[in-house]
Each structure stands twice: as structure tokens, then as C-alpha cells.
């Protein structure tokens, strides 16, 4: 059964199917734009565009795995970005104290959402809907509905700057070595415990693929000044979130709460606290995304982040996060974000009308989840 084997392969390595999808999208746009898509300059741009959605998706994937949703993150992003702009431009704060304050504020806003969901037991969908309006209202109020500019130079550097090419090469090399070391350690450990191992050739193939990917990635971006700083931050967040989700007690509890909240509660896990922390992290990610948004555009716009929640949620679902909670991965969500960003970027290059952009993105989202359902990987319970 050849076709069944291929299907099995895709169910097991969903990520492979996603990467193939990304490749198809890229080839399509590359041809359609007369080879203007896969160029160092454009890809650098694309990854920078993706960084903001990616940060939101990092937080959102935890929220969805825990069986909740947060619709207010676009407005949270706008509010937190607005605050950082006001603090630096109008209040004369230094860039770093302002960033610190906004990160704390984001954490608090997220915790407030979490408190309302877990302690006051208002469904998260409603809390998000309310927050979407209320937070946007606050931004409009504090900014007086006008754009706040110009952001200080060192803030702008965070959004528009690059990691120098030389350093980029070193970082790429370190990431590769770390991946190899982690895989080797995993193999040794699993061998010791007598657990089933992936075949050696698969792991080697994986390493070669990852190495080639990192090399290509760094090389490509170095041709356009190096890795953009927001992309570097996103890579850091990817590492931290993957670590938390796979290696920590808290991470395991997120999956358990989303998989079966009642069983988890009866196992003595404080499910309310888990969810509250997940929402707080979501707020923190909104702060990151808000700061980067201001830094990239050089100004605090009261409409920043509008619709950001939809991109982040779409990214999670395209990346294979289960609608019902209990399963999903951070890297999957980031590849989902890459799909969304590629579509945006490609269609802008092709000069597709905005209305068509929205239609196509909407259709692709539904299509992607439909394929996921077809592959049977979401069939459970």
C-alpha cells in the first residue's frame, strides 16, 4: 500500500507536509513574480513580516493547547505598542526602561484575562471579544487616535536592524551544533532506556536537512545585511517555548489540561493556575509583538495589530494545533505563521487587490484545516 504509507508518513511528520506546502507556495510566487520572490532582500523582508505574527502564535499555541482562545491579542498588541510609543516619545523615558515596563504591563494584562477566565469563569471567547473592544478603545483614548512618532533611534534599531553577517554565521553554526548535540544525547539516552529509536539514517538525514536549511537561511539573509533582529528574537522565543512545552512540568500540564481538564484536576493539578499562567504568557508575547511593531514602523499607530489575532490563530491551526486542545507544537505554529506571511508577501509583490488577498487567505485557512481533518490526525475522543 504505497499511498497509505505516504499518508502515514505525513500524519507522523505533519511538519514535512507543511514544509512542502511552503515550498509550493514559494515556487508559485517565484514564477508569478518573475523571480522576485525568492531573493535575499524579499525573504529578509518576509521573515521580518512573519516575526510579529510568529510571536503572537508562540503565545497562542499554548492558549489553544490548553483548550482556550484569546481574541483580544490584536488589541493588546496595539495597546502595548501605543504605551511604548507614548513612554519613549511623549514621556521621555529611555528605550530600555520603557521596554521593561511594557513587558511587565503585558504580563499583567494577560494575567487579568486569565483571572477573568479561570476565577470568574467567563468563557475565554467572551473575555477575548470584550478585550478586543476595550483594549482598542484604551489605545484610541491614550493616543488621542493619532500616530505617535518618531520613535527613538535605538528602539527603531530593534525593529529594523540586523545581526551583523559575521555574527549570523556564528549563530547559525551554534544552532546547528546544538541540534546535533541534542539529537545525539537523545539517542544515547533512549538507547540506555531501551526505548524505540528512529532509524539512524532518518536522524542523519534530518541533521543534514537542518544543516542545509540553516546554511541556506543564513547565507541568504547575509546577502541582505544579516539576520533581522526581530527574526533573531523569534528564533530565541522558539527555543524557549519548545523547551517549556517539551521539558518542563508546566508544559506537560498545559497539554494535560487541554487534553482532559477533569482528569487533570482529579490528578491534583491546579488547572486554574496553569491556564492563568498561559494567559499571562500570551500577554507577554503581545508586549513583544507590540514593541517590535513600533520599532519596525518607527511610530505607535492606534490601529496597530488590528486582525493580528486572526493571523496568529490561523497560524496555529495551519500548524496542526488541535481545535479541541491537548495537542500542538510551537514549531508547527511558526511554520503556520510562515505560510500566512508568505501569502501576504507574495500577493503584495504580485500586486493582488486587497480584497482578493483576504479571500485567498480565508480559503487557504479552511483548506489547510480540512486537509488536516482528512489525514485523520485530529480524529480522537
Amino acid at each position: 500500500m504505497q499511498s497509505q504509507q505516504i499518508q502515514q508518513l505525513f500524519v507522523r511528520y505533519k511538519i514535512l507536509a507543511l514544509l512542502i506546502a511552503v515550498a509550493i507556495i514559494w515556487v508559485f510566487f517565484h514564477i508569478k513574480t518573475d523571480a522576485a520572490f525568492v531573493t535575499p532582500g524579499n525573504l529578509s523582508n518576509l521573515f521580518r513580516q512573519m516575526a510579529i505574527t510568529g510571536m503572537l502564535a508562540c503565545g497562542m499555541v499554548f492558549v489553544i493547547i490548553a483548550g482556550e482562545i484569546d481574541l483580544s491579542i490584536g488589541s493588546q498588541l496595539g495597546l502595548l505598542g501605543g504605551v511604548v510609543a507614548i513612554l519613549t516619545v511623549n514621556q521621555g523615558w529611555g528605550t530600555w526602561p520603557a521596554i521593561g515596563a511594557v513587558l511587565v504591563l503585558g504580563l499583567l494584562i494577560g494575567a487579568l484575562n486569565g483571572y477573568i477566565v479561570t476565577k470568574l469563569r467567563v468563557p475565554s471567547f467572551i473575555v477575548g471579544l470584550g478585550g478586543m473592544l476595550a483594549f482598542r478603545g484604551i489605545v484610541l483614548y491614550i493616543t488621542g487616535s493619532s500616530t505617535i512618532a518618531p520613535a527613538p533611534d535605538n528602539l527603531i534599531t530593534i525593529g529594523q536592524g540586523f545581526v551583523p553577517p559575521g555574527v549570523s554565521v556564528w549563530i547559525g553554526g551554534l544552532i546547528f551544533l546544538a541540534m546535533v548535540a541534542l539529537t545525539a544525547r537523545r539517542r544515547v539516552r533512549r538507547g540506555k532506556l531501551g526505548l524505540t529509536q528512529a532509524a539512524l539514517w532518518i536522524d542523519i538525514l534530518k541533521m543534514v536537512a537542518i544543516g542545509a536549511f540553516i546554511f541556506g537561511f543564513v547565507r541568504m539573509l547575509n546577502d541582505a545585511n544579516g539576520i533581522p533582529i526581530p527574526v533573531m528574537i523569534l528564533l530565541g522565543l522558539l527555543a524557549v517555548f519548545t523547551y517549556v512545552s517539551t521539558q518542563t512540568v508546566f508544559g506537560r500540564h498545559i497539554y494535560a489540561v487541554g487534553g482532559n481538564m477533569e482528569a487533570t484536576r482529579l490528578s491534583g493539578v491546579n488547572v486554574a493556575r496553569v491556564k492563568l499562567v498561559v494567559f499571562a504568557i500570551m500577554g507577554l508575547m503581545c508586549a513583544f509583538a507590540g514593541i517590535i511593531t513600533v520599532a519596525r514602523t518607527g511610530s505607535g499607530s492606534p490601529s496597530a495589530g488590528t486582525g493580528g489575532e486572526l493571523d496568529a490563530i490561523s497560524a496555529c491551526f495551519i500548524g496542526g494545533t488541535s481545535m479541541r486542545g491537548g495537542s500542538g507544537t510551537v514549531y508547527g505554529a511558526l511554520i503556520g505563521a510562515l505560510v500566512m506571511a508568505s501569502l501576504d508577501n507574495g500577493m503584495q509583490l504580485m500586486d493582488v487587490d486587497n480584497s482578493w488577498q483576504m479571500i485567498i487567505k480565508g480559503v487557504i485557512l479552511v483548506l489547510a484545516v480540512w486537509v488536516d481533518v482528512l489525514s485523520g490526525s485530529n480524529r480522537n475522543g
Binding site: L193, T248, Y255, A263, L266, S267, G268
Partner: protein, 515 residues
């Protein structure tokens, strides 16, 4: 033409090789009420699902005759069209819809197009309710404005609206007060005079004795006896229901019973939906070190509510005073309960026990994950060592500890849940239906483990609906009925009849005690 309105002949139903029903006969004459009795798990619900078309024709063997003609129902709709209506234990009304809308749900009276003819529906609903002697009902008001007794009668009205000729009532009085039950029984009498036939399924034998003309007893999926009620007594029904010796399924090991380790005093739970109704009414008991305390009773008697209140997991309002090792303890959440030294293996494995998508190992360590972690980071090696040891000790059959637990059989899932709740090292272990849906081999392993734990001085509280299990495992048996403590027996020469009699006995008789 036979004298019967309805006949089931030699019904056999298998579930993956296990015979749930093995040649059941059931016959009802027009205007007759037949009582169907059997222990929990005897096959009553399966039989009802066969006859109401939930299990379509062809998935079971045997023959069903209705009006002398073979009935081959492929769905509930088919059997309802023939005139068979089943009223389930849990009422199937939509609380927000009006009484009339519920009565005609799926059966609406229409004008042109899809427009509901409310006038006709209200008039007909009122006529139906008058037939049931309900006069003070506003048929346009939502069902949730009325209590459980009324709702039960609305269900009957709904059945009559479908021109039911055979009414099947499954534990109809389980959520009714005694005066509401009285009303219900007299209405069934009236319906019998009008020629409606009934099958009355109930554990409450006084009700069966009052309203039924004939009694059929089934046990372990087999037909035991069918006799006119006049030739039966409550006692002979109980004997027929139990009817067997306990096979030597229980690897009973002598163990020492020590001092009182845990006391629960004045446990009272209120119903979540109906705050005036007590599900558990002032129950107090104690359990000793190394003692296995069985809690018997009928389904819905309040046993699960009792133990979940003790564990801090009851969803509604409750009160309980708990004393562990002489010191009063305060428990308001499972987290606190586990920290105090209590563990609970819940009744519903799928809903409350397992996290289906997580691996077997991840499930096993869920309650104790922080034991294998430093600064929040899981030491996978330490975790896996514990998991492997536990899987071996309890003989959990799984290809790998990383396999999602939902792929395991019920017995192996149960063992995993059990070991999850044993890892915190409880002083008091509460097991709610520990062997439900578990194969015989796993059952044996679970009993063996229980005796082993008791030998180590763990106090075990076991809620079970399987009478042989209660008698085969427990040192002492509490009987709970309708939320009250009905008996406290030492398990020495205790018989199933005694326990069942205490569980079924009317409240007026007061709790039975045997030293």
C-alpha cells in the same frame, strides 16, 4: 393472533465476542405492566436498546413481534412509529423550550410550510396533560420552570403524543420524591386501563409490586424467571436477581486491621441542578488502617457524590468534616486532598481518568510530575524509570510507555490510572467502581493490588455496584440508599440478599446494623 401485544424471543446480543444478552424472552399483553428486574449490569439497558431500535435490526439475533407481526426497527424512529416509546432515566427534555414544544419535539403540528401551529399544539398538549390529571400547567412556559416530577409526566405526555401503545419506563422514579412517585404510579394504573402496555424497569421493588402484573427477572444477560406478581414476593425477586454464588475470583489475603485512620462526618451534598435536593444526606463513617471498606448501593444512590465530596471534587455545594490520623483536615480541591494523603480513582475512566492524547507514561506521572523535576525541568530519565517499574509491577500491556493511552484496552487504562493515583503514596485510597469495563484478568490484578496495599496499612474505600466484588473484597460494607446510610455490616457471612435488601429498603425502616 397471540394474546401478546409485544414479544421478544431469544434475544442474543454480542459485543466483540462477549454475550451481553443470551437468550432473553419478554412478553407484554395489552394493558399490562411488566416489571423488568435485574442487578446493575444484568443487561437491562442493552435489552431496552435492542427493543427501541438503538441497536438496529440485524446487529442482534432473535425475534421481536409487535401486534403479532415481526418488528424490524432500524432506528429509534422505526420503533416509535410502531408505537414503542422509551422514557429514559435521565429526562430528555430541552429545558428552555416550552412544555408544548417539548411534547411535540420532532413531531410538531404544522400549518402550511414549516410554520408551527401553536394553537393546535397548545390545545392538544393541554388535553394530554388533562388525561394525566395535570391541571395547573402552563403549556407555553418553559419546561425548566417545573420540577422533576412534572418533567417525568411531560415525558409520558410526549410519549402519548406519539400514540405510544407500549411505554418503557427506565428507573422513572430515580429523581422523584415519594409523593411524585405516587402520582406517577397512579397514572400508570390509569394508562393500563386505557389499554396502554408498560415495561417498568426499577430497582425499587415496592413500586414494581404495586404497579406490575407480571415480573421478569434477568441476570448476567440470561432470562431467569417470568411469573405473575401475585406469585412473587420482594424476597423471591431479590433471590432471583442475585441467584449465584460468588466464584473464587477474589485472591483474598488476610491482613491486619489497625486503628481508625480516617473519619468523614456529616457529609452532605446538594444537587447541582436542583439546590433543594440532597444527593447525600448527612453520612458519617470511619475507616481503619489496612481496612477495605466497600460502599454498596444502587446506581444513583449518592455514593460517587459522597466520595467526590471527601476528595474535594464535588461540583456542587457540599459540607464535610474530615479527620485524618486524629487531626481535622480541610480539603476543598483534589490538589489539597492528594497533599493530605488521599487518592481517588474516579468512576468514569474516559471522562475523569485518562488524558487520551498523552502517552501512557505521561498519564502515570501526571499526579507526581514535580517529584521528577528540578526547578521545573522534568528529569525524563528519572520519570521513565518510575514509569517502566510501574508498568512492570502492574502488568500494564503497552508496546511502549510513549504510546497514547487511548490505544490501550480498558483494563490497562484502568491500571495506569490506578498507578497514577498510587504514586503520591496515599494513606487513604478511594476507588470508585475500580473494575468497571475491565476484563477478568485485569480485575484479578487489581484485587491483588488492593490486598497488597491493605497489607501495607493503606485504608481503602471502594465504591462498587458489583455485589460479588463488594462481598469478595471488603472487610466491612456500608450500604447507601437515596443519599442516606442504610447499613453498616461486617463482612462475615454477609449475603447479597442482605445488602440488596438494605439498599432497596424503604427509608422508613431506618438503617440496618449487624455487629
Amino acid at each position: 393472533m397471540s394474546e401478546y401485544l409485544f414479544e421478544m424471543r431469544q434475544i442474543v446480543k454480542e459485543f466483540s465476542g462477549v454475550r451481553a444478552l443470551n437468550g432473553i424472552d419478554l412478553a407484554v399483553r395489552p394493558g399490562e405492566c411488566v416489571g423488568l428486574c435485574g442487578e446493575n449490569g444484568a443487561g437491562k439497558s442493552t435489552l431496552m436498546k435492542v427493543l427501541s431500535g438503538v441497536y438496529p435490526y440485524g446487529t442482534w439475533e432473535g425475534e421481536i413481534l409487535f401486534d403479532g407481526k415481526p418488528l424490524r426497527a432500524h432506528s429509534v424512529r422505526d420503533s416509535e412509529d410502531a408505537g414503542i416509546v422509551i422514557i429514559h432515566q435521565e429526562l430528555m427534555l430541552v429545558p428552555q423550550l416550552s412544555v408544548a414544544e417539548n411534547i411535540f419535539l420532532g413531531n410538531e403540528i404544522r400549518k402550511y410550510g414549516g410554520v408551527m401551529d401553536y394553537d393546535a399544539m397548545y390545545a392538544k398538549a393541554e388535553a394530554l396533560l388533562t388525561r394525566l390529571k395535570l391541571k395547573d400547567v402552563n403549556v407555553a412556559a418553559p419546561v425548566m420552570n417545573y420540577g422533576g416530577g412534572y418533567q417525568q409526566l411531560f415525558e409520558i405526555a410526549k410519549a402519548l403524543a406519539k400514540n405510544a401503545r407500549l411505554l418503557i419506563l427506565d428507573e422513572p422514579s430515580s429523581s422523584l420524591t415519594s409523593s411524585e412517585t405516587d402520582t406517577l404510579l397512579s397514572i400508570i394504573e390509569d394508562l393500563k386501563h386505557e389499554g396502554v402496555a408498560c415495561v417498568y424497569i426499577s430497582h425499587k421493588l415496592e413500586e414494581v409490586a404495586r404497579v406490575c402484573d407480571t415480573v421478569t427477572v434477568i441476570r448476567d444477560g440470561k432470562h431467569i424467571v417470568t411469573k405473575p406478581m401475585s406469585e412473587m414476593t420482594t424476597h423471591s425477586i431479590i433471590t432471583a436477581m442475585v441467584g449465584r454464588d460468588i466464584e473464587n475470583l477474589f485472591p483474598k489475603v488476610d491482613h491486619d486491621i489497625g486503628e481508625v485512620i480516617f473519619e468523614a462526618k456529616h457529609v452532605t451534598c446538594w444537587d447541582v441542578a436542583n439546590p433543594n435536593r440532597k444527593r447525600v444526606d448527612d453520612i458519617s463513617f470511619e475507616v481503619r488502617r489496612g481496612e477495605i471498606l466497600g460502599i454498596a448501593g444502587l446506581v444513583g444512590a449518592g455514593r460517587t457524590e459522597l466520595v467526590s465530596a471527601i476528595f474535594g471534587a464535588y461540583p456542587g455545594r457540599y459540607e464535610a468534616e474530615l479527620v485524618l490520623e486524629g487531626k481535622p483536615i480541610k480539603i476543598r480541591s483534589p490538589e489539597q486532598a492528594i497533599k493530605a494523603g488521599l487518592s481517588l480513582v474516579p468512576e468514569d475512566r474516559k471522562r475523569q481518568g485518562i488524558v487520551p492524547l498523552l502517552g501512557v507514561g505521561d498519564n502515570i506521572t501526571l499526579a507526581t510530575l514535580s517529584h521528577y523535576a528540578h526547578a521545573g525541568q522534568i528529569d525524563r530519565q528519572a520519570e521513565l524509570q518510575v514509569v517502566e517499574a510501574e508498568i512492570k509491577r502492574l502488568r500494564v500491556k503497552t508496546a511502549s510507555p510513549e504510546l497514547a493511552i487511548m490505544g490501550l484496552s480498558g483494563g490497562n487504562q484502568q491500571k495506569a490510572v490506578l498507578t497514577k493515583m498510587l504514586l503520591p503514596g496515599p494513606k487513604v485510597l478511594i476507588l470508585d467502581e475500580p473494575t468497571r469495563g475491565v476484563d477478568v484478568g485485569s480485575k484479578y490484578d487489581i484485587y491483588k493490588l488492593m490486598f497488597e496495599l491493605a497489607g501495607k496499612g493503606v485504608a481503602i474505600i471502594m465504591v462498587s455496584s458489583e455485589m460479588p466484588e463488594v462481598l469478595g473484597v471488603s472487610d466491612r460494607v456500608l450500604v447507601v440508599g437515596e443519599g442516606k446510610l442504610r447499613g453498616d455490616f461486617k463482612n462475615a457471612g454477609l449475603t447479597q440478599e442482605q445488602v440488596l435488601a438494605a439498599a432497596i429498603s424503604h427509608a422508613a425502616e431506618g438503617p440496618a446494623h449487624a455487629a
